[in-house]
Each structure stands twice: as C-alpha cells, then as structure tokens.
C-alpha cells in the first residue's frame, strides 16, 4: 500500500480522534503494552492528543475515531476529520452505535439538562447521540465497550499489510463454548445477551459466572426478538427486559427494535 518495493516502507500516518466518550477505547491503544513500541516504528502517530503534544497536519492514512456525535460542534468536526482521512475506522460502542449516552434518544434532553445542570441554557447539545456512520462514510468498525486491544492490533496490522480487516461477526456463545464455560442461561436462568452479541471480549461475563450485557453490540444476523421472548419466559420483569436491550449499545438498530417493541411507549 505504501512504500517502495525494496526500500524501508513509508510509515502509516495514524490519527486518533475523540468525540463524546469515556476515553477507554483510546486507552486500549496505550494498553497494547508489548506491541506499542514496535508499532510506533511502523506507524507514525501523527495526531493523538491524549498521548502526544505533537500534532501533524493531515491528511492521514488511517483514523481511529472514538465517541459519538452529541453536539452541533462535533457534527461539524467529524466532517473535517473525514475530509482529512483515507481510511476511517470507528472504535467502540459510542462511535459505532451512539454509546450509553444514546439513552437520551428516548428522552427529553432538555429535561436532562435541567436535571444535571443549574444553568441548562449554557449547554449546547443535540437532542440525540448518534454513531459516526450517521454523519460520514465509515470504512470499518471495531465494536466493544471497550474495544478489545487484540482486535485493535489486528486492524492496525491489517492496515500495515494493506488488507481488509477480518474481525469475527459471530456471537459470544462461540467464544464461551470454546472456553468450556457452563451456559448461564441454561444452567442458571440468567438473561445472558451472549447469543445475540458480537464476539471479541473472550466471553468475559459468563466466564466470571454472570450474564453478558451486550457491550459489543449485535452479532451478524442476530435474533434478539426470540431471545427477548425467552427472557420473558424466564420471568424477567418488563422494565428490566427493556433495559437489557436498551443499554450500552441500545441505539444499535437490532437492539433498538426489541427495546422499542418490548418497551412500547416507555
């Protein structure tokens, strides 16, 4: 993709941008402890304000974008980011689905402003929290809250090779079975979101003996309606059932549909 046939390849210019988020996905880049130093020899960190005072002008080969769009100012900024970027990859639940702050999409944000701030008029926010893809073209997405650092490394390695990322689209159940965990839905009747949630975390929650809460968002071709019906049969209270789907990745269409149907008017 870059570099000459024989000489030292040109370093990939990377930018990391933040929108409304907790910084956790960017931190996963810094959490690549063992790989960080060699990566920095192959990738030029051209813009990564959380990690570096140096900011180089675009354009950038690759941008990793964290966070969702919640303010008029950020809605403008993401357009400029897109213009400066060849390959734009969103990282995390906020950037790919709107994040936990997308719970405002079912609420009156004006009331929320009044609830949290004595002077709500000083705040300029949008009534919704939306994923990056709702504003600009996105080339790929890394899911998770936070993203798995192994997946970030895989995407960076693929970018260095100039090939397309190949992250899994199957459910947490496959990872869980491979680990030999006892199924918490079957054995304990817990409302585990594993059957409809994208793999990548390593089935952390069931491994610790608890139910998955869907922080990687829906897997490919999920059937969340059937799972919600099963939760109902397990005796999950209506409010809890809605919250199950209306959580960290609740604004993702596949989960939103179920949350809305089960919530009807809530």
């Amino acid at each position: 993709m870059s570099g000459s046939a024989l000489g030292e390849p040109r370093r990939l210019r990377l930018a990391v941008h933040k929108f409304a988020s907790c910084d956790g996905c960017q931190l996963q880049i810094l959490n690549l402890e063992d790989d960080l130093l060699w990566l920095s020899r192959r990738i030029e960190i051209a813009h990564f304000p959380e990690a570096s005072s140096r900011s180089l002008e675009g354009p950038y080969d690759l941008a990793l974008v964290e966070g969702s769009i919640t303010t008029p100012r950020d809605a403008e900024r993401i357009r400029r980011v897109r213009e400066q970027t060849r390959t734009l990859i969103t990282i995390g639940a906020c950037a790919t689905a709107g994040g936990i702050q997308a719970l405002r999409n079912w609420a009156d944000v004006e009331e929320w402003k009044r609830q949290v701030y004595p002077e709500p008029r000083w705040l300029e926010v949008l009534p919704t929290s939306t994923p990056i893809s709702a504003h600009v073209r996105v080339d790929d997405e890394i899911h998770g809250c936070p993203v798995s650092k192994e997946q970030v490394l895989r995407v960076l390695a693929r970018a260095l090779l100039g090939t397309t990322p190949d992250l899994p689209g199957h459910s947490v159940c496959l990872e869980c079975k491979r680990q030999g965990n006892v199924c918490v839905v079957v054995a304990r009747g817990l409302p585990c979101m594993g059957p409809v949630t994208k793999a990548g975390c390593g089935a952390l929650c069931p491994h610790l003996g608890r139910d998955c809460y869907g922080c990687f968002g829906p897997c490919d071709d999920p059937n969340p309606e059937a799972l919600a019906d099963h939760f109902q049969e397990l005796g999950v209270e209506p409010a809890d059932l809605v919250h199950r789907f209306r959580g960290i990745t609740g604004n993702h269409p596949a989960f939103r549909r179920v949350g809305d149907r089960k919530g009807e008017g809530r």
Binding site: S21, C22, R73, Q101, E119, G247
Partner: protein, 433 residues
C-alpha cells in the same frame, strides 16, 4: 504600549478529555482566566434514573475509561449502605486489591505517558521511550501488572465486569492469586526505581497554601472507607458531604465546579491523600517518601508526581499483603434484598475523592444519583495555579508558554472525560485602557 496579542494553543494534549484555556491579559495583569471544558456532557446522572441498582456498576464504569474501578467502588458502597449489606472481610480485602490495580495502572499511565515528556522537553511517551528506553519499558511492565490485577477480578482493565453489589461475580482461586503474587514480587523493586527516575528529573516546584481533602481511615491508607478530613480540621462522614461542599456551574465548562461551602477551593488527589496519611503507608512506601521528603514538606502541586510514585509502591505492597492474607469467602458476593433509601459512597479514586449519592425506591431502582468526580473538585485549584503562573509565562515564546500552562494543569492529572478534553490555550493581550 498598546499591544494586543492572542496566543493560541490548539489542543491541550496528554490529558483525558477536551478543554480549552482562555487568558485575557492587560499589560502584565490577568483580567480573565477560564479553563473551558467543552467535553460533551453525557448526562449520566439523568439516564441512570429508573435503572436497577444492580446495573449501576456496569453503567458508571463508562464514566471514565481510566478509572472505572473508582466509579464502581463509590457507587457500590453507596448502594450497599442502602441495602444494609456488610461485606465479608475477604471480599472487602479483594475490593482493596481491585483498587490497588487501578491506582497502579492510572498512576503509571500519568507518570510515563502524560507527565514524563514534560520534564524531558519531549512530546510523548514514545519519544521518552526512545531517549530513555529502559525507563519507559519499566513503566509499561509495572503498569501491565496493575491491569492484570484489575483483570483477575474484573475480566478486563477498561470497564471491568466483575464487581457487583455485595462483592464480585467470581472469587479468584488461590492459584490465580499466587501467580499474581509471584509476578508482583518479581516486579516490586522496579516501583522504587520508577520513583528514583522521576526524582532525577527537573520537576518544577511551587509550594502553596491550600486546603487538602482526603479520606482518613483508623488503620489503613485510605481507599474504600474512611471519614472525609481536611488539613484545616474538617472531619465528616461521607453522608455529610453536602454540608461541607457544594457544586457550582460556570458558563465556560460542562463540568460543575465543587467548592467548600464558604466558596474556598481545596485539593484532592494523591498529594492530599499522601500528606494526610503518611503514617498509614507500608514501611517501604514510607522509606520511599523519606527519600523525597524535601519535595513533600508543604503542598506543591508539582510534587504530585512523587506522591503518585509513592502510592504505586504502596499499592504493590498492599496488593501483596491482601493476597498473602487471603482466605476464600463463603460466597463471591453477599445476598441482598433491594430496599428504598439514600446511600453515600466516598472512595479514593486515583485522582482523589470521588463522592456518590444514590437514592433508590423500594424495588431497588435508582430514583436519584449525584456523582462528584475528583476533577470537578480540583478545577478551582487548576484555575488558581494558572492565574498565579500566567504573568510569568506571558513573555515566553508561545510553545514555552503553552508547555508551562499545560504542565500546571497536568499536575492534577485531570480527567476531563469524567467531569465532563484537549485544551486550547488562548491568551488575549489587551492594552491598558
């Protein structure tokens, strides 16, 4: 002289969150100084209403990717007080181990990636890694252990999933804890070497009179429990927080400022904690403190980096102590019955006191929640430091002025995502009328 100049720093780097600094100067007098935080508000305190208390630990973790354990701990302790849960001593000890992991991880991130470049005149940790390869690798090795502690109890270091009401979802096995202890023993000496490295760097000094606020526990270095005390004599229960502190909104920030009732500013964080609790340190951490005693004789925000290094040593000692004394609890978590009430949680986040007030209904759903993060409490101190610093940096070239201001801000390791990120420094110079 009718000079009017604007100096603008496009982004305050190496802090967590988005912000800007505006300085208006007339002659050499600072007319206006505003630390603008434009981190988009996410309204946690609004959307947590109506959620089950049992969901809170997973949800509040999302306030901050760097200190999720702190949000989980203050919130869970508040809920547990409502549900009248007494933690099993072994579970209580594991909560301490969990917090040790976060202090180690967060402090070392700050020390090596955010602060060290300042003292070496470099842009980032990667550049420090090139100029001081052994040092940054040491920092990374130590930090990884902090992440490993959190992961053992919580599955992963960012947004860990193990903590729940009454304890944890799973108790680690003796074998897992034993393996962790071995890794800590092997790395332990490196924590002292980290302090020696920072003590060898040209860290500025600017002592000042400031009220220090932290928890104080009868026998332990404070993490999850204790009374809120201050250097000027405040001594209250967490439940009395609102009698001593109040939050204010300013037009230029999406983070509320927290002040003493009389409007006074105060300092929370590793320095405040250390200066008020040195007698609770482990012997090795106390010896480490003695080695930099001259820098800790009076409150000096620049000495915070030493306080962090000392707390890293302490956290490793404490983690080892907990592991060695560990007896498995009868259950990973205590059973509970949801009930209505009001609960308060005050714990020591890496960046300082983190207060949470939770109100639940009789089915255990949240009817109200208030979260006061450490950075909200330190904002006034940051602004005051900048106001004092500003006249001295105005004559400096732009890059140096920016670096000086950013260093003063970074002393607090501000986590702006919590409170509500990058800084734009704008200095407006007006000619005297």
């Amino acid at each position: 002289m009718s000079e009017r100049r604007t100096i603008e720093i496009a982004t305050l780097a190496r802090v967590e969150g988005e912000g800007a600094l505006h300085l208006t100067v007339e002659g050499d007098r600072v007319i206006d100084l505003r630390l603008e935080i434009y981190e988009p508000p996410r309204f946690f305190e609004a959307f947590l209403r109506g959620r089950a208390a049992s969901e809170l630990a997973d949800l509040v973790a999302r306030i901050c990717g760097i200190c999720p354990v702190a949000y989980q701990m203050s919130t869970l302790h508040a809920v547990e007080s409502i549900f009248q849960i007494t933690l099993h001593p072994s579970v209580r000890a594991l909560r301490r181990l969990y917090y040790c992991g976060e202090w180690i991880e967060s402090h070392l991130l700050h020390m090596y990636f955010l602060a060290a470049p300042d003292y070496l005149g470099l842009d980032d940790g990667i550049a420090v890694a090139r100029s001081h390869p052994g040092e940054v690798e040491r920092g990374l090795r130590l930090r990884k252990l902090g992440n490993r502690i959190i992961s053992l109890l919580g599955g992963r270091p960012v947004n860990p999933v193990g903590a729940c009401i009454g304890g944890f979802s799973r108790t680690p096995t003796r074998a897992e804890l034993g393996e962790l202890a071995e890794q800590i023993v092997r790395a332990r000496g490196e924590a002292e070497a980290a302090l020696r490295f920072f003590a060898s760097l040209p860290v500025p000094s600017r002592p000042q009179a400031i009220e220090l606020v932290s928890l104080r526990h009868p026998s332990e270095y404070p993490m999850n429990e204790g009374r809120i005390v201050s250097s000027t004599g405040l001594d209250i229960e967490a439940a009395e927080f609102a009698t001593a502190f109040s939050e204010h909104q300013v037009p230029h920030s999406t983070a509320l400022h927290c002040r003493r009732m009389d409007g006074g500013r105060y300092l929370v964080g590793p320095l405040a904690r250390l200066l008020q609790n040195s007698d609770r340190l482990s012997p090795a951490a106390l010896a480490a403190r003695e080695s930099v005693a001259a820098r800790l004789s009076s409150p000096d925000p620049y000495a915070s980096v030493f306080a962090r290094a000392i707390e890293v040593i302490y956290a490793f000692d404490e983690a080892l102590r907990v592991i060695r004394a560990f007896e498995p609890p009868p259950a990973p978590a205590a059973e509970f019955t949801p009930r209505a009430g009001v609960g308060h949680g005050a714990t020591e986040a890496p960046r300082g006191l983190l207060y949470v007030r939770v109100e639940t209904d009789d089915r255990g759903y949240v009817s109200a929640i208030r979260i006061v993060p450490p950075t909200a409490q330190n904002q006034d101190c940051i602004e005051a430091d900048l106001r004092e610093l500003a006249p001295g940096v105005l004559a400096l070239p732009h890059e140096e002025a920016r670096r000086a201001c950013e260093m003063a801000i970074r002393n607090y390791d501000p986590c702006i995502s919590c409170s509500t990120h990058f800084l734009t420094l704008e200095i407006e110079r007006r000619s005297p009328a």
